[in-house]
């Protein structure tokens, strides 16, 4: 049983936002429009957070691409009163849209701000109809429930079906989430953290490796490689 994890190399990230767009298309995340966006109603399964550091003369911009951290010890799962968000056997923190009662306790409890509430029913422009991903786990979520990054579970399932058809086991690199596939700087890596030889576990052992807000004890499974 793999334990899925992601590594993001901040040195290679150019803040181009391709991951954000690829994720939106892959997972049918609605486009909020200007009014809703400025009112804080936009949904980002993946978001690139701009950080401006320094004083007036020595400014430095940093960018942090932020999916869900799929914490090993997820506060969101702990507080959900109905078990609508849960950790699956492969370490992915998933969401049951049929069970969620929309109390938003999990959004409050997530230290990373990775969870989003559907303030309204999702709308898709007519022109985008043909781009909608038909995969069942990625179908649009109804109004009033919470959603977030799933490490593209539908792609994991698809990879499983493919390797089964080919009659072999999953190998490192078989599963590629949309953000990893699209990243032009090749800053993102995905794989099994329990497999010592996988690319992600090798990178996770790098001296540059860091997990955000580690002192909260959430143990994120998204590991960042800091800028050198």
């Amino acid at each position: 049983m793999p334990r899925w994890g992601m590594v993001i190399d901040l040195d290679k990230c150019t803040a181009c936002q391709s991951c954000t767009v690829a994720c939106r298309v892959e997972n049918n995340v609605p486009i909020a429009g200007q009014r809703d966006s400025s009112n804080g109603r936009a949904i980002f399964w993946n978001e690139v957070i701009p950080v401006i550091e320094g004083d007036g003369t020595h400014l430095k911009g940093r960018f942090i691409p932020r999916p869900c951290m799929h914490c090993e010890n997820p506060p969101c799962v702990q507080v959900c009163p109905v078990g609508a968000t849960f950790k699956d056997a492969e370490g992915i923190v998933r969401q049951d849209y049929q069970r969620c009662i929309g109390c938003r306790y999990c959004t409050v409890a997530c230290p990373y701000g990775a969870r989003y509430f559907n303030w309204r029913a999702p709308e898709f422009a007519e022109s985008h109809a043909s781009y909608r991903n038909p995969d069942a786990p990625a179908r649009p979520r109804p109004v009033g429930v919470v959603e977030k990054c799933t490490f593209c579970v539908q792609r994991i399932e698809r990879a499983r079906r493919r390797v089964a058809a080919e009659g072999r086991e999953l190998r490192d690199g078989d599963v590629v989430p949309a953000c990893v596939q699209t990243c032009p700087g090749r800053a993102r890596f995905f794989g099994d953290l329990d497999d010592k030889h996988s690319q992600v576990s090798r990178l996770a052992r790098s001296p540059r490796a860091l997990r955000f807000l580690e002192d909260l004890g959430t143990r994120p499974q998204v590991i960042y490689l800091m800028e050198g």
């Binding site: 702990q78 009163p81 109905v82 078990g83 609508a84 306790y105 230290p111 004890g217």
Partner: protein
């Protein structure tokens, strides 16, 4: 003597059936407000989702949750008074015990209404029963609310039963109603009454730990969340218990003062005075807890909690914070302590003088005024805000204290109590909202939170629902327990 008592008894009961114009108008007004709220809910929030509220990312929670916490807290006053009467046996509060119990029950019901209003998927409420997870403080709260509600209902039943049966005998037209409310248990023999009394005592004792549990668990919904620095504090549970008692007692006082007038209830002035005195003793305890929390954060200067408190004390939530402190705690305390006029005049002269100095030579005196603040924080306070609040305070204080030369009248106790309730509304707002806006990851600031008209209409409608229930119950049975002698005489 016995004749007179019997007359009072009949009069009290028969007054229940007399319905005046004022009462009808009040009901109509309240029904109108409830209708307004309900139609806002149905036409807006129910059909379009929480999009119609002012909530957003990261202000995930808004005034619904503020009111949920507020009403959970307000329910404490009823249980406090009921416990004092039925468990400790403080007879002088018996005349207000029933009002207190009604308030406890209706506040709890309103709190559950508010939590329902907050859900994005209210129709899935039953999922809490079906899939409830014990790791969630929200589930603990559901359990403890239900236990507490059951205890308060039982308390209310056993302390009202005898009166219901008297009403049944006196008012034949409503016979069926009272029979239903008394659940068919119409035995008024001394043994039965003695048993009621024993049960009441047990229930009142059980209510005390249940109340502490209720307020602590409600606090832990917030206090156990490590992602929110302003909440993550061990002090939050005792703080909630104390603010619940203070606000609850204050609400009982307001309800007593108002309904005593409106329904001409036989509640003596000294009862109100004693309640006011009790409140005056409790306010400093709340102030102490707030101070302990504040000092710890401000002294340690850990960036995240300090940022929350900054937002609260000198940022956009500052007016709410200072209102809570000055007009919601300090002023009522002063009013209730009823100092002599000379002291008031001298005090406000000094206060005004201090403000004048602070205005002219701002930096030094202000840092001196607030020695517990690090200088940077103190200097960050927008001067105009401070000055305005101090002026308002300096003016309101003598006005309120000096309008009535008669000393501490029940009306003034009522005003002081109302200020305390408003102060706790402010406190609850500041507990819930500012920590949501502070994020641990370096996100750009969000749009902030301001409730929309829809949200406000729904909240006002829910308040009206509570008042409506109270007004309705006031005509259903006597708001003051019929005394033993009166019953005997009749």
């Amino acid at each position: 003597m016995a004749m007179a008592k019997a007359l009072i008894f009949r009069e009290t009961i028969h007054r229940l059936e007399r319905i005046g114009l004022g009462y009808v108008l009040l009901l109509l007004g309240l029904v109108g407000l409830v209708g307004w709220g309900a139609s806002s809910y149905l036409s807006q929030q129910w059909t379009r989702g929480l999009w119609v509220t002012g909530m957003n990312t990261p202000a995930y929670w808004g005034i619904y949750i503020v009111n949920f916490v507020l009403f959970i807290g307000l329910s404490a006053g009823g249980i406090l008074v009921a416990a004092l009467v039925h468990a400790v046996g403080i007879e002088r509060f018996r005349p207000v015990a029933r009002i207190a119990e009604i308030l406890a029950i209706s506040c709890l019901v309103l709190a559950t209404v508010f939590i329902m209003l907050d859900l994005g998927r209210p129709e899935r409420f039953f999922h809490l029963l079906l899939y409830g997870r014990m790791s969630s403080p929200l589930v603990w709260d559901v359990i403890v609310i239900n236990v507490y509600l059951a205890i308060s209902m039982a308390l209310g039943y056993f302390s009202t039963r005898a009166d219901l049966i008297h009403c049944m005998r006196e008012l034949p037209r409503r016979r069926w109603l009272y029979r239903m409310l008394s659940l068919g248990y119409t035995d008024l023999s001394p043994q039965a009454l003695e048993r009621d009394h024993r049960i009441l005592r047990t229930l009142a004792f059980a209510a005390i730990p249940a109340a502490i549990g209720l307020h602590s668990v409600t606090a832990w919904i917030f206090g156990l969340v490590k992602a929110r620095p302003g909440w993550h504090s061990a002090l939050i549970a005792p703080l909630f218990v104390v603010s619940a008692i203070v606000s609850g007692l204050a609400l009982v006082i307001v309800a007593v003062v108002v309904s005593r007038r409106a329904f001409r209830l036989p509640i003596a002035d000294h009862v109100v005075k004693d309640l006011g005195l009790l409140l005056a003793f409790l306010i400093p305890v709340l102030g102490y807890f707030l101070f302990a929390e504040l000092l710890t954060v401000v002294y340690a200067r850990e960036p995240a909690p300090l940022a929350v408190f900054r937002e609260m004390m000198v940022g956009s939530y500052a007016p709410i914070f200072w209102f809570n402190l000055l007009l919601g705690l300090l002023l009522p305390l002063l009013v209730l302590m009823n100092p002599p006029r000379r002291v008031v005049l001298a005090g406000s002269a000094v206060a005004t003088g201090v403000v004048a100095i602070a205005v002219t030579r701002f930096e030094i005196p202000l840092a001196g005024l607030l020695p517990f603040l690090p200088t940077q924080v103190a200097l960050g306070i927008p001067p105009t805000a401070i000055v305005a609040v101090f002026w308002a305070f300096g003016l309101a204080l003598p006005l309120l204290l000096l309008v009535s030369p008669k000393g501490l009248t029940p009306a003034r106790i009522g005003i002081a109590a109302a200020l305390v309730v408003l102060g706790v509304v402010a406190e609850r707002t500041n507990i819930v909202l500012p920590p949501l806006l502070e994020r641990l990851m370096p996100y750009p600031a969000g749009p902030g939170y301001f409730p929309t008209l829809v949200e406000i209409s729904i909240v006002v409608g829910t308040y009206a629902l509570g008042v409506l229930a109270f007004a309705f119950l006031a005509k259903l049975f006597p708001l003051v327990e019929l005394s033993h002698e009166e019953r005997e005489a009749a």
